[in-house]
């Protein structure tokens, strides 16, 4: 253990979270860059084109979220099992390999960017699949890192002889997480078949395995932040797994509507997608109950409020924005417009970004207040919280208006022709929305800067903190 009473595993978790938060900054910067290029396409044209910025924006998001999730699990694993993580040295090696690999991939994206359509490009530059553009060597590296992570988790649980409900769900989920990624690594010349399996990674990762992973992290966080009894969070986790997998797995069909798959996917995808918001609405009740039952009494206010942001953000982003365009009749027109971007921004922020930030605050509290004598709080986190939420809601609103313009003018009225595309792009709903998106993007970025400053400073001045009543001080 370190002098702060941290396990080596928790130290590794912290490294993962720090690397993730740095990448989060890169994601924001590339997001601002491409938002501006939407308004001024000449900006950095030929040097760093929109398509490269977009790859970096989205890939940085995927990787930073994964780093955060892995960091969270390494953090909670020793607490859950009561022992140091087995094979921690291997875990640390995997971390450095992953960070080095991400750095090399980013440098290749920045300086080499594209290559001819051959095996060398696929292996060393860009695999060519949207959202999972990482070259094949990096793909294999990601799978190896996840397998090492999986080994760390399973071996630790076995060595501890303590398989909790949360750990059981987590292990099954991690096997699915590693396995599904393989579906994005083989190549077929038939675009429909290719897309069919590509969605296994994109949809099933995000709307099934990630959701369950987040459920596990949330369960562990709630036990810490609100001291919710294990049986309650585990009971809720099982229900969530049932609902998320029950609706999310075949909800995959909403990506199969118009890619050349058989017509039965319209019914399957539509039915399960229509049900997908149900668990998200149900989660609102749980969030309110937990908050009310504990009268917002917590050891860590920023973490608690980011957990609330998660519950409501997930509902808005995935539920409201998702359902709006999930029926095949609508999706035929809205697919691939800014409506999808609007939905994606809100859902990822709500479901995943908020969770990672909550865990980051839990980690920082342990560093600055190892004995949990204080209620962790500051003024700055509130500014960061409000600015990031205003920023994301503003961006999502602007993209939604732009998406309506595209769906209506380009698709429904114009019939998706080239002239219709130009008409939609020039329409004020689209053109002005892009300015609004950029403005709110800056607000979000300011929120991010404040968040980082707060994470670096919160809890350092103990005189500003409220002392926790003796009865509630944890001596664990």
């Amino acid at each position: 253990m370190t002098k702060q009473g941290l396990y080596e595993s928790q130290k590794l978790g912290l490294w993962y979270m720090v690397a993730g938060l740095i990448l989060f900054g890169a994601q924001n910067l590339f997001g601002l860059l491409i938002a501006y290029q939407y308004i001024n396409p000449d900006f950095l044209f030929g040097l760093l084109d929109f398509n490269i910025g977009r790859i970096l924006h989205i890939n940085a998001m995927v990787v930073w979220l994964l780093l955060g999730f892995i960091g969270a699990i390494y953090w909670f694993l020793p607490i859950e099992t009561g022992r140091e993580t087995v094979g921690i040295k291997l875990g640390k090696l995997a971390f450095f390999v992953l960070v080095a690999a991400v750095t090399v991939v980013v440098l290749v994206y920045l300086f080499i960017q594209i290559g001819p359509g051959n095996q060398i490009s696929l292996w060393f530059i860009n695999e060519g699949r949207e959202y999972i553009e990482a070259p094949r060597w990096a793909d294999i590296g990601i799978v190896v890192v996840v397998l090492i992570f999986l080994y760390n988790v399973i071996a630790t649980v076995i060595a501890s002889k303590r398989l909790t409900g949360i750990m059981g769900v987590l292990i099954v989920d991690l096997v699915a997480l590693a396995g599904l990624y393989l579906a994005g690594m083989f190549y077929t010349v038939n675009i429909s078949v290719d897309q069919y399996f590509w969605w296994w990674v994109i949809h099933l990762w995000v709307e099934a395995t990630w959701e369950v992973l987040i459920g596990c992290i949330m369960a562990l966080s709630l036990m810490y932040v609100l001291k919710t009894p294990r049986k309650i969070v585990e009971g809720w986790l099982y229900l969530e797994v049932f609902l998320v997998f029950g609706t999310g797995i075949l909800g995959l069909g909403h990506h199969y509507f118009w890619i050349g798959t058989p017509e039965y996917w319209l019914g399957i995808g539509g039915f399960f997608s229509a049900l997908e918001p149900l668990p998200l609405v149900a989660m609102i009740i749980h969030a309110i109950y937990d908050a009310g039952a504990h009268k917002l009494r917590t050891v860590n206010r920023p973490a608690l409020f980011w957990i609330f942001a998660q519950a409501f953000g997930n509902f808005f982003g995935a539920g409201v924005w998702g359902f709006m365009q999930t029926l095949p009749q609508i999706n035929m027109y809205s697919h691939g417009t800014q409506l999808a971007a609007s939905h994606g921004h809100m859902a990822f922020f709500g479901a995943y970004v908020a969770t990672n930030i909550a865990v980051a605050y839990i980690m920082v509290q342990k560093l600055r207040d190892p004995e949990e004598k204080y209620v962790f709080d500051s003024k700055l986190w509130k500014w960061a919280y409000v600015l990031m939420i205003i920023g994301i809601v503003g961006m999502v609103g602007a993209l939604m208006v732009a998406g309506f313009a595209q769906t209506e003018i380009e698709r429904a009225v114009g019939g998706s022709g080239w002239q219709a595309y130009i008409d939609a792009q020039l329409h004020p709903w689209m053109a002005e929305a892009m300015w609004w998106r950029l403005g709110f993007g800056f607000i979000f970025f300011i929120g991010y800067i404040l968040l980082i400053i707060d994470l670096l400073t919160i809890g350092k001045n103990k005189e500003e903190l409220e002392v926790l009543p003796e009865a509630e001080v944890s001596h664990a």
Partner: protein
């Protein structure tokens, strides 16, 4: 399913879907708030959103945009949303009470 939508049809159906889920969330939020604070006015207001949610669902299915299959799905969802707050409240409250009692007995 085979009917192509016009621009205005599309707008109606999209906005109706958007508000259907948004109102379902508002209904759930206010219902939960009313129960946790024991203030019946929140619960009464929540029912306005329940009606609004159902109305938005009706706006999706009343026009001739969708085939019966899709209308049934939407109506099933709309009916489910009417009972989710009560059902989930019962599940959460019962499980919390049960497990808290178990934890307290263990402590004693």
């Amino acid at each position: 399913m085979h009917n192509l939508l016009t621009g205005s049809d599309l707008l109606i159906i999209m906005l109706s879907g958007f508000f259907m889920i948004l109102f379902a969330g508002a209904y759930t939020l206010l219902y939960g708030l009313g129960k946790i604070t024991k203030k019946s006015k929140y619960i009464k207001i929540s029912y306005i959103f329940a009606i609004a949610q159902f109305t938005a669902a009706l706006m999706m299915i009343t026009p001739d945009f969708l085939d019966p299959f899709w209308k049934y799905i939407i109506m099933f969802s709309a009916c489910a949303y009417l009972f989710i707050p009560q059902g989930m409240w019962w599940v959460v409250h019962t499980s919390h009470t049960y497990w808290e009692r178990q934890e307290n007995n263990k402590d004693v």
